[in-house]
Amino acid sequence: MAIALNDTLAPLLPRIAGGDRGALRQLYEATSAKLFGVCLRILSDKEESEDVLQEVYLTIWRRADRFDSARASVMTWASTIARNRAIDRLRARGPLAHADQVDEMEIADGAVGAEALLAAAGEDARLHRCLGELDNRTEQAIRTAFFEGVTYEALARRMAPPLGTVKSWIRRGLTKLKGCLEA
């Protein structure tokens, strides 16, 4: 995993843990556009995304003391919180919400290229290279699962093959992915 060597945001976290609102504000200014983008990507709804964005910064406020700069950059850590909270919200909409989004697979297809290009510039290129080495449908299934929090069952409904097949694609993909990331 990529670790930012000069993570300029890292010094803010101990201050936030100590109750410094100004430090949270600085973090907000540096990260809110990224985190709002993550919420919007997952929820496709502006109001819900703003709701979740608020929860994300309240979570950061409470959990700042657990941030470990040896494990991840602040941006990675905060983005992961945003992704998890947005997925929680998506799931709270109920199973129907997932079933309704059948068309989104095609939108996701277009997004992959842009993401991969962006990522190629950074240290996170490795994950994208490794994802790119998977066969297309497995890569697509993993990305869709990640951004939409859909279960194997929902993926199978969307992608047509039987449940067991989707499950074995992803499990094989995860195994390859780890091998590639650690190579």
Binding site: R21, R25, Y28, V38, Q54, R62, R63, I142, A145
Partner: protein, 241 residues
């Protein structure tokens, strides 16, 4: 690309949980397992970090202008340090030693949701108001909610886990008043609600500010009066809404 080394069933499950492909029931089981097994929790955390770069490549979109003001209004006084004290006490009562990895995972799992507490409203004392608490791992949705009626000395506790999840363990409920010593008050079944009569000797201790916690125990519950033996799945403080 090479196939890479085969992953164990446990690591595949950790990866699947981090990716989000498990059903609600399987997710609840995985969360409970994370609370019990620091090594499993660390595997899930590693997979979350492996997947994280996907999230980072999303295009930024400026947040609505008024968003910061709303966040600032909702900021509670920072009680991170109080959380740590409570978790430390609980760990002390568990009487187990864990390595630094275990500590990190345990603090994740045992985190207290104080920050999510609604603000305490000062009210005239006439009818004793209900005390409420929502308990969950920090930053996640609550796993248990409870409401205590000081007049009837009754605690109503609801598990938000899927019914029948984690059948190999029991979930034991503890009252932790200001002296920091946990008192066992009963058990909660996943996915169910129950009403528990607060034992007479504990009623003076069950006031605002006392904490409730749920530990994951082997069937029969903790065998010591002193406190939980298993990991803490959730905790929170009683407060008036």
């Amino acid at each position: 690309m090479s196939e890479g080394p085969l992953l164990s069933e446990s690591e595949l499950l950790a990866a699947e949980h981090a990716l989000g492909v498990l059903t609600a029931r399987e997710r609840a089981d995985a969360e409970a397992r994370m609370a019990r097994e620091p090594a499993f929790a660390a595997e899930v955390e590693s997979w979350r970090m492996r997947f994280a770069p996907m999230v980072e490549t999303v295009e930024p979109v400026p947040a609505p202008g008024e968003a910061w003001a709303r966040i600032e209004r909702r900021l509670p006084a920072n009680d991170n340090s109080n959380n740590r004290v409570l978790v430390k006490r609980l760990r002390f009562w568990r009487g187990t030693t864990v390595g630094s990895l275990g500590l990190a995972a345990a603090s994740l799992a045992a985190a207290v949701m104080l920050g999510n507490q609604p603000p305490v409203v000062i009210q005239p004392p006439e009818p004793e108001p209900l005390l409420n608490v929502s308990m969950g791992p920090d930053g996640a949705q609550p796993l248990f909610i409870a409401s205590y009626d000081p007049l009837r000395k009754t605690l109503i506790v609801t598990s938000l886990q899927p019914q029948g999840s984690d059948p190999l363990h029991v979930y034991q409920l503890w009252l932790i008043p200001s002296d920091g010593k946990p008192r066992a008050v009963g058990f909660v079944d996943p996915g169910k609600s129950k009403s528990i009569q607060m034992p007479q000797e504990f009623t003076p201790l069950a006031g605002a500010g006392a904490a409730l916690a749920v530990s994951i125990e082997a069937p029969g519950g903790s065998t010591t009066e002193k406190g939980p033996q298993g990991p803490i799945a959730a905790a929170g403080k009683l407060a008036q809404i």
